[in-house]
Symmetry: D2
Subunit: 365 residues, 4 copies
C-alpha cells in the first residue's frame, strides 16, 4: 500500500518535530512536505531544525526542503498536520481549508468554532461524523474535495476526558469534576519553553489560559453531535461544571491529574467496582477500527496504590493509552482517581495522527 | 536571661536534626540533652549523626554525648522535643509525661488522644489552654510539675489549616475542603527517605496514611476546646468534610497544596475581596505574644499569578509563615487557592519550637 | 528455533529485573528459572517483585515461582545471569560454576580473578577465547560441560573503555586517561538506592569504590589474552594509568564521562580527524557476528557541540551503543571528549545478554 | 556612617537583581540609582522587574525609577556595579569610566584588557594596587577622580582559582590543571536561561565560550602585577596550562569542579597533609581588612568523603567561601580535589560587592 502524503506545518517546532517522528514510524502516512516560517523556507530540514527528540532525526526527512506555509506548495498532500503557533495558525490553517485540504491542528484557534470537531481520538471519534456528513453533502453538490479542519484538544483536557467518557456512557451525565493537574514541561515547547530555574526544586502553580481550556473543552468533547449532524450540542455549565487547578512540575513527559467527579443521576450512582470495571472494559472506536496507532486499551486501570507514575507509565501503548489509578470513593464527590496521559502523544501530535487514521478508516481521507 | 533547657529525643534523625539546628539559633531554649537509639548511646553527637542540613552542625552540639531516651537522663530539662519514629515514640513519650515532663512531639502516636492538644502554633494556640488549666488544677492539688504532651500536626495538615482558620473565624464553619497536595521529599526523612529514582522526572501519587491524617487532623485543629476545658469538641464529618489527594514531587522543602473550600452558611458567603482581606489581616496569637520564632505575618497573600512557588517562597519569615496565592472563585466550591508551607518548619520541628515559646509565654514552661 | 533457557539469580533486584525485561524481548534466550533470596522462595514472581521498569512486567514471568539460588533448581538452564549482591554472589556463583553452569555475572566478586574474563561485549569479546579454549580442553578430557564464569564490568568502566579500544588498536597503547564521571542514579539500584534528597538540586561527588574499579578494570579489559590462552596479561600502572573522579547526579539512566587521554607512542599521535574516523569506523565483533542485541554501531560520534546528552542519546541502538561527542585536542593530554553510555544496558544487564549471545555464536553456550 | 551610593547597571537582569539584593543587606553601600534598557526607563523598578530571588524585593528599591544607562543620571554615585549583557556592556561601561566613575563589572568585555584588573576578591585583591597606583598618579596630576574599571571573573574560573592561589603561594607555580565542571543553571540567567527540558534528567556537556574563559582567565588572576604597577604579567601557556571541560547540570546554585593539578617544581612537591594544611590556613586580604562581606574562611576543607555538595555547602559564609573536599593524591597529576563555589556570590555579583569593599578599605572608593 502506498503511503498517504502528509504535510506538516510548523515543522521545526516541538509539535512539528513530534509529527515528523511519529510519521516516520507510521504505516499509512508519510511526511511529504514540511512547512516552516519564512526565514527557514528553502533550506534543508536537518539544517534548520534543532532536533530534540530521543530518536534521531529520521533519514527520510533530513533532506526535505522547507516550504512556505501556503497551500500551493502542499499540492498532493492528503492531510495537513499543523503544529503552528496560535499567533499564525488562524490565517494559515484557514487558507488550507479554503483550498480544500483536510487540516488537523494542534493550535487552539478553531477549537471553539461550532462546526469544527474538537477530538480526542480515543474519546469522541463519533464527532468526526460531522466531517463525514459534510463530505457526503459536498460530493452530492459536486465538490470533489471539501476542505475541513479537526482540532486536537488541549493536552491536559485530553487526559481528563478519557476516563470521563466511558463513565458518562455507562452511568449518565457527570455533573461536577474537580481536576488538579501536575503538567510536564514538554507541554510548554522548548524555544525556550519553561525555564529550568522555574521547575528545579520547584512547582509553578499556574499555566496561562490552561484552566479555562480544560473547563471549556471538556464540555465540547463530551457532548453529542447536533441533530443536523453539522455541529455540536456543547454542554452548558448547568450540565457539566469542571474546576481546574493547573501546575507545571519537573517532569519531562506525562501529565498527572488528580480528579474527583460526581454523577448527575443520584439514583444511578455506580459502585466502586462498577466504576473500575467500566474503565477497564472501555473499548474505543479507534481500537475497533484497527487503526495502526490505536492503543490496545484506551485505559489501563492500575491497582498498585502508588501508580500511575509518569516515568513508569507514560509510554503505555506508545503513549496512546491513559493510565488510571487510585480509583476510590470520595467524601465530597462520588469518586476520585489519578489519571496519567502522555501530553505529546494522546495530548498533542499523537492524537492528530490517530485522528487521521480514523478519518482514513471512515473513507474521508 | 538564662536559656531554658531542652531535651531532644531522636536527635540523629531528620526531625531531631532540625530541632537541634533551630535551637542553636533560638534565644530562649538550648539543646541540652540529646537522646538516641541504644546503639548510639554514649557516643559523641558529631560522630553518630549524618548531618544533612544546609547549615553546619552547631559547635555547641558536637560534643554532646548521646543519652538513652529515658527520663532519668533528662533531669533538668524544661521541655522535651520528640523527633522519634512512631514505632518507638508511644512508649518513650509516655514515660516522659509520666515522669512530669512537658513533651512536644512530632510523632503521630498521640495526635488523636482526647486530652492531647494537636497544635499548629499559628492556628490553634488557644488549644493550649487545656494545658494551662491542667497545670493550675495540678498546682491546686500540690503537684508541682504535671507532665503533659502536645502534638505537632502532620506537615501537610499544617499548611492546609493556616488559611482555613481566619476564614472560619470570620465567615463561619467551612463545610467542604478539597485538597490536592504536592509534597516535598524532606517530609519523608532521609534514612533513606524517598528514593531518587522515584521522584526524578516523576511524581508518586501516593503517601501512605497521609490523606487520612489530613482529613482527620483538620477536624481536631479547627475545633473548640470543650466546656470542661480539658479536651476538644472534634468536628464531625457532618460539620467539616475534607477530601485529600497527596502526591510526592521533586521538591526539597515546601508543600504546595491546591485547595478549594465551601462555607456552611450560604447566606454569609464572603466576596473574593473579603476573603483576601481576611487572610491578609490574620494576626495569630504567637505574633501578638512576641514569641521569638513567630512570623511577622502568619499568612502572606501573593498577587502575582504564578505564586507561591516552593523555591522562592518557602522561607518567608524563616519558614513560619504560609504563602497563599491565586485566591479566586471556584465554580463548584466557593473559593480556590494555592497554599505553600515549609514542611519542616511550620509543618514539623519549627512548630514544636514555637509551641514551646507560646507555652513559655503562657507561663507553663 | 527453540529458546535457550536462562536462569536469573537475584531476580527481584534492579539488575535482575533488567535481565528479565531484556530476556522477554530476546530472540535467543528466555527467562526460565528465577532465583531469589530465601524469604521469597516459593512465591510468584509478580507477588514478590517491586517492578520498577518502564515496560510492564512481562506476562510470561508473572507466574514463575521463585527458586532458591541453588544449582539443583536450575537444571536445564543453558546460562545463568547473576544480578546478585556482592555480599552473597561469591559463594552462590561458585556453586553454579562448580555444578557445570555458564555464569554471567554483574557482581564484582570475581572480576579480578585471573582466569575469569571481564568483558564489555563491544570491546573485548576476544577475551572469551579463554572460555572457548577451556571448553575444547575439557571436551578433550571428556568433560561434557565445564562450568565457567564471565564477569560484566563496572558500569562506568564500560562507558570509558568503548572508545579507548579502537584508538588503542589503531594508534598503540594509551598511557594516561583522565576520567570525570557524572553517573545516573539507576546505577545505585532502588532498594532504596540513592536518596532523593541527595541528588535533587545537588551532586554527590563520591561513589564508594567506584574510582578504584574504573582505574583497575580498564587495565584488564584493554589487555591481551596471555600466551597460554587461559588468562590475561593485565596492564601494569606503567602501561596504562587511569585517574577517575566519580559523581552521582540527577540523571535516571546514562553515565556521562568527560575523558582526556594521551597516547604512549609520541611519534605516532594521530590527528583529530584520524581519531574521529577511527571511532566512527569501529566495528565490533558482536556486530560482525550478527548477535541480535549487538548495536548497529558500537560508537556514534556526534558533531553537534552540545551532545551527547543522557536524555536524548542514552537509548541509541537500544542502549548498546556508546555516544561520543566533543572530540577535540587537549592542551595537557592529546585529546578530550565526552562519552555517554547506558549504565543498565551496556553497563550492566545488557552486556550480560550480549556476552551470552556472543558465546552462543562461538558455540560455547 | 552614611552609606556609599551605588549605581546598578542592568538592574532588572539576574546579575542586577543579585547586586540589589546583596546591597540591601550591605552595611557600606546602598543601591541608589538603577539603570535599565531604554524600554524600562522612567518606570518603577518593582513594575519592571521579574523578581526571582528567594528573598522578597527589598522595600527601598521598589519605588526607584529606572534610569538610562548614561553617566549623567548616576551623578553622586561612588561606585557603579554593572550586570549588563556583553552585547551592550562595552560601550556603556566605557562611557562611565570616561566620566570618572569606578566601574565594577560582571561582563566579559574588558576582562582581557591589559590595564583592567580581573579580580576574584578572595584570591588576587593585590591586583587592585594597579588602581591605587593610578589614583595616586592622577591625584598628583590634579585629576580628582579618575575613572577605572575592575572586572569580576567568570563564575567557574572563580571557583577554580581560590584553592590554586594559596598552593601557588606556598609551593610555587602550578604547571598543569585539569578542570571538569558541573555548573548550576543560575549561571545562565533566567530570561530564559537554560531550558528546563535541557537539564531535567539530563546534562548539557557544553557551555559556549566557558572553557576558553577558564583556561585564559586563570592565567591573568594568578599572575603578578607588572613592575610598572599599571598592568599584569599574564602567565603564558608554558607557565600554566589549564584544560577545562564544562557541563551544565540540574543544580540551582553552586558550581562543582573536579580538578587535578601538578606543580612545576618537582623537587618541592608538597605532601597531601601539607596541601590540606595550606588550604585550611589560607587567610585572604579581604578577611584581614575586615571587609563586611569577607568570608570567615576563604576556603573550607571538608573531610567527609562525600562533600562538598552544592545543596549543603554552597551558602557557607553567605556564599563567599569556597568548599574543598576529597583532597587526595592523583596518579597522573599530583593532587585532585573537588571544589564548590557559589556561582552568583563569589562567582558573580557577590565578588563585585566585595571588590568594592576592598577598594573602600584601600581608600580608593
Amino acid at each position: 500500500m502506498a503511503f498517504k502524503k502528509a504535510g506538516v506545518l510548523g515543522a521545526t517546532g516541538s509539535v512539528g518535530q513530534r509529527f515528523i517522528l511519529l510519521l516516520s514510524k507510521n504505516p499509512q502516512f508519510e511526511a511529504a512536505v514540511l512547512g516552516a516560517s519564512p526565514d527557514s523556507v528553502g533550506k534543508r530540514y536537518e539544517d534548520q531544525v534543532v532536533w530534540k527528540q530521543t530518536s534521531l532525526l529520521p533519514d527520510e526527512s533530513k533532506d526535505l526542503i522547507l516550504q512556505k506555509c501556503d497551500p500551493e506548495y502542499f499540492k498532493g498532500c492528503d492531510v495537513i498536520f499543523s503544529g503552528l503557533d496560535a499567533a499564525v495558525a488562524g490565517e494559515i490553517e484557514k487558507s488550507f481549508v479554503d483550498a480544500g485540504f483536510a487540516v488537523i491542528s494542534n493550535a487552539k484557534n478553531f477549537r471553539r468554532s461550532p462546526e469544527v470537531p474538537l477530538v480526542v481520538p480515543t474519546v469522541n471519534s463519533e464527532h468526526l461524523e460531522v466531517i463525514v456528513n459534510r463530505a457526503k453533502a459536498a460530493k452530492a453538490k459536486g465538490v470533489a474535495r471539501p476542505g475541513f479542519e479537526v482540532c486536537i484538544s488541549n493536552c491536559s483536557t485530553a487526559g481528563l476526558v478519557v476516563p470521563l467518557k466511558p463513565l458518562q456512557d455507562a452511568f449518565g451525565p457527570i455533573r461536577y469534576v474537580s481536576d488538579t493537574t501536575m503538567q510536564a514541561i514538554s507541554g510548554a515547547g522548548f524555544s525556550p519553553g519553561t525555564s529550568a530555574i522555574d521547575v528545579l526544586d520547584n512547582i509553578i502553580p499556574y499555566i496561562s489560559g490552561e484552566e479555562d481550556k480544560i473547563e471549556w473543552e471538556a464540555k465540547k468533547i463530551l457532548c453529542n453531535v447536533n441533530k443536523a449532524g453539522d455541529g455540536f450540542d456543547i454542554l452548558s455549565d448547568d450540565q457539566l461544571t469542571v474546576s481546574a487547578q493547573c501546575n507545571r512540575v519537573a517532569v519531562s513527559d506525562g501529565h498527572t491529574e488528580c480528579i474527583a467527579l460526581k454523577f448527575l443521576n443520584r439514583d444511578k450512582v455506580p459502585t466502586l467496582a462498577q466504576v473500575k470495571k467500566c474503565l477497564r472494559d472501555y473499548d474505543c472506536e479507534a481500537t475497533k477500527l484497527h487503526c495502526p496507532s490505536a492503543p490496545k486499551h484506551a485505559i489501563y486501570v492500575l491497582e498498585d496504590p502508588d501508580r500511575p507514575q509518569p516515568r513508569l507509565d507514560r509510554n503505555r501503548d506508545d503513549g496512546y493509552a491513559v493510565s488510571v489509578g487510585r480509583v476510590r470513593e470520595d467524601p465530597i464527590f462520588d469518586f476520585k482517581m489519578v489519571v496519567l496521559s502522555h501530553n505529546t502523544i494522546i495530548g498533542a501530535a499523537g492524537s492528530g495522527i490517530l485522528i487521521a487514521e480514523i478519518l482514513a478508516a471512515k473513507g474521508v481521507l
